[in-house]
């Protein structure tokens, strides 16, 4: 049985912005209460999850966000927040720091002109102010951007911004139509086929510049697929983990296999009626996941499991180089090339690892968290009481030893 790695909470549909590429805030929906979210977090911890992503709408519009974050951290999970940065004043940044948020993603779309066009005038400055406040309180900050026709020429600007402000990571994700109400508007954001080459060049420059600035970005294999994807083609990675390792939950508690299937109304259940534990292990979910894989997933290029593309690239490069190895007699040259490509991959992995330490917890933590699961299939769900009982019993035995010792000494 594969374990849960990541749960994505869309904790609210409310948002203070009306962005061009997103229609989420248009509907109102009854949100789960604080306690209900806390139960989900507890269950996720029991299932061995490592990360909770708080997304929305704008998650900071929920007054109990800090409480949820600190509860997440108490349960040994990493907390990642996706925000537009407008509400992050100094006090909010301080609260995020105190509650223990690991990573905060701020959405920035490129230069001021592009950003303000897509997200509303004045929003660029506010987002940057938010980023500045986060960095002031030493919170790991990420610039996240949705690549579309409007901003693909501005991608290099993001790296400059990250360098200037001290953000450690820039994450790109191509535009996806699932957040649009009217799917007909999709073509508005896609690029022409003749622009593919230009975007490809920009992406390669983006990768090179990120190496130069030592800023971690998405895996290379993933980034290189963006141009073709944005021209209207879909990819399905062989080893996409979204269905196996993660699940999104809507503000009203609906649990989906993944965002894309959620848009197709494939619902597993609601966490209000059943616990996450029951839903995750349910037969219904297994059947649904198997049917999605059997019938062929349409594919997407969402960044949830971008690392899945990287291993493929590594394999491809090895195979390619091995082919050359047969043809060319100059072994040394080819060997050098192979070593070089491995080296570049390792440096990239090292950069990425720096990001993953904060995003998914350090390697040691991950292993430590996994160990009990290997020996004991799942920790019991209602662990609060037995745990307290065991602790008290061990305290009693220690107290008994202390009293007996006192009897001897006094």
């Amino acid at each position: 049985m594969l374990n849960l790695k990541e749960v994505i909470f869309s904790i609210t549909n409310r948002c203070n912005l009306r962005c061009k590429m997103c229609d989420i805030p248009s509907g109102t929906i009854e949100e789960l209460s604080t306690e209900q979210w806390m139960n989900v977090i507890k269950d996720a911890s029991c299932l061995g999850a490592q990360t909770i992503v708080f997304s929305g709408g704008e998650p900071l519009l929920r007054e109990d966000l800090f409480k949820l974050i600190s509860f997440t951290r108490k349960n040994n999970l990493s907390a990642c927040i996706t925000s537009n940065g407008h509400l992050i004043n100094e006090l909010v940044a301080q609260s995020l720091h105190v509650s223990g948020a690991n990573v905060v993603n701020i959405s920035i779309e490129g230069s001021r002109q592009t950003h303000d066009y897509l997200r509303g005038s004045g929003s660029f400055d506010k987002a940057l102010a938010g980023l500045e406040n986060l960095i002031k309180y030493k919170i790991e900050s990420t610039i996240a951007s949705t690549v579309s026709r409007y901003n693909y020429k501005d991608l290099l600007n993001l790296l400059e911004l990250a360098k200037d402000y001290g953000a450690t990571t820039v994450r790109l994700q191509p535009f996806n139509a699932i957040f649009l109400k009217d799917a007909g508007r999709k073509s508005e954001f896609l690029i022409d086929k003749r622009d593919i080459q230009e975007l490809d060049k920009i992406i390669r420059d983006f990768i090179n510049l990120s190496k130069e600035y030592k800023i971690s970005v998405n895996p290379m294999g993933y980034l290189l697929k963006i141009p073709v994807y944005l021209s209207g083609k879909n990819f399905y990675p062989d080893n996409c983990g979204a269905l196996w390792y993660s699940c999104p939950i809507n503000p009203n508690g609906d649990l989906f296999p993944c965002w894309i299937e959620g848009a197709n109304n494939k619902l597993i259940g609601n966490v209000k009626k059943e616990s996450l534990h029951e839903l995750w292990l349910s037969e219904k979910r297994m059947k649904m996941v198997n049917s999605i894989i059997r019938d062929g997933c349409k594919g997407c290029l969402m960044s949830c499991y971008d690392e899945a593309f990287n291993s493929k690239l590594l394999r491809e490069s090895v195979v390619e180089n091995a082919k050359k190895f047969k043809k060319v007699a100059d072994y040394k040259k080819v060997m050098n090339k192979i070593v070089q490509s491995f080296r570049s991959q390792i440096t990239r992995l090292r950069l990425r690892y720096r990001f993953y330490i904060s995003y998914r917890g350090s390697l040691f933590k991950v292993v430590a968290r996994r160990l009990p699961n290997i020996f004991k299939k799942f920790r019991p769900l209602k662990q609060a009481k037995p745990a307290e009982k065991e602790v008290v019993l061990s305290q009693i035995s220690q107290a008994k030893i202390k009293l007996k010792k006192a009897m001897r000494v006094l």
């Binding site: 009982k389 009693i396 107290a399 006094l410």
Partner: protein
């Protein structure tokens, strides 16, 4: 024997909380005798919530008789409204004296004249507390009512004079509520009451809404704002320094927790309620610890009230409460951890004068108590 009794009490509180069963009895029993009061202070909700109710003498006497046979060290605190507004207040004191109960009273001092002060000295009270919320007339009167400061000071003077003349009587203390209005003069109260001859001073932070203790909204009127916190810190520093050298102030908890309390950063780790420590009986007879009432002494005995299903539910809510309110009566920090309880016993025994064999005997009894609870826990 006191050392052992303290150990047993703490152990009972600890295991009551762990096992969610009342092994322990409350050590504070508050009687809000009446809703009536001479003042209508702005931070007090009793007058508004409990309008039209009054606990009758017979019910009070019944409860007194019931609890007088408890093998438990507890204190009864008479509050109100204003307890001295009741014509039968001295009958209540007399009954408590007859049954040898420890009893204290909290008053605003508005009705205490020379005659009543003298009568109080003979009524067997352990402590009488007068509320004083400011070091000057202006502050106190703005929180309470006109002439309130003058009357409180006069009451203290009468009490001190009566105690001096008679030679014995209850401890005379002052209770001060910490709030935005008086934060700058918390320390100034000390010299004032010292000159008057008061023996003890207790500070406690304001409750914003009496009907809902959990509501510690930072936007409420009396709540300390962020900019006032540094004033509170200054005052605490001065008070702590004074207390170290001269005593007089009785701290019920670490005073620096007030800062965290008003900032809204107080966590369970620093201050935890023990749901078994405190019980309040309202003017309508309703029994509660915190939040919802779980019984009525008009219908059943106090012990039965403490054992209702509602009582279990209310205590469970208190146990899981995330918002410690730092009130004076709700907690018993000594009984929060088992290692702490055992360490205290060993420390007390080390420093006591009793002989070696008696010490061993005490430790033996303590060990057997611990084993008893272990058995119950294992079977639970």
């Amino acid at each position: 024997m006191d050392i052992l009794k303290e150990f047993e009490t703490n152990l009972a509180y600890y295991f009551s909380e762990v096992l969610e069963k009342p092994f322990a009895k409350p050590c504070w029993i508050f009687f809000s005798l009446s809703h009536k009061c001479t003042y209508s202070c702005q931070m007090c909700g009793v007058v508004k919530i409990l309008k039209g109710h009054e606990l009758c003498l017979k019910d009070v006497k019944n409860v007194f008789e019931e609890i007088s046979v408890w093998d438990w060290d507890f204190t009864i605190v008479i509050t109100g409204g204003e307890p001295f507004l009741r014509p039968d207040i001295f009958d209540i004191f007399k009954q408590a004296q007859k049954l040898k109960l420890k009893i204290e009273v909290v008053s605003n001092g508005s009705l205490i004249n020379q005659a009543i002060a003298e009568k109080i000295m003979f009524s067997g009270l352990k402590n009488i507390a007068i509320s004083l919320d400011g070091a000057c007339e202006q502050t106190h009167d703005s929180i309470r009512e006109k002439w309130a400061f003058k009357k409180a000071v006069e009451a203290i003077k009468y009490l001190v004079a009566a105690k001096k003349a008679i030679g014995s009587g209850p401890q005379i203390s002052v209770w001060t509520t910490i709030m935005k209005e008086n934060v700058a003069e918390l320390f100034d109260i000390i010299p004032l009451i010292k000159d008057l001859g008061v023996e003890c001073l207790v500070y406690h932070p304001v409750i914003v809404a009496q009907e809902d203790m959990q509501n510690t909204s930072p936007h409420a009127r009396f709540w300390l704002k962020e900019k006032d916190i540094h004033k509170l810190k200054e005052q605490i520093d001065r008070i702590v320094k004074y207390q170290r050298n001269n005593g007089l102030v009785a701290f019920l908890h670490d005073p620096y927790l007030w800062i965290k309390h008003f900032k809204g950063e107080l966590t369970k780790r620093e201050w935890k309620c023990n749901p078994f420590v405190f019980t309040n009986i309202g003017p309508d007879g309703e029994v509660r610890s915190c939040g919802a009432a779980f019984g009525n002494i008009n219908k059943m005995s106090l012990q039965e009230c403490l054992n209702t299903a509602e009582a279990y539910r209310a205590r469970n809510t208190m146990k899981n409460c995330d918002k410690p309110c730092l009130q004076t009566c709700w907690a018993n920090p000594q009984a929060n951890s088992l290692p702490g309880i055992v360490n205290k016993l060993v420390y007390d025994l080390k420093n006591s004068n009793i002989n070696r064999e008696a010490k061993r005997e005490l430790l033996d009894i303590a060990l057997s108590r611990l084993i008893e609870y272990e058995g119950i826990l294992k079977n639970a």
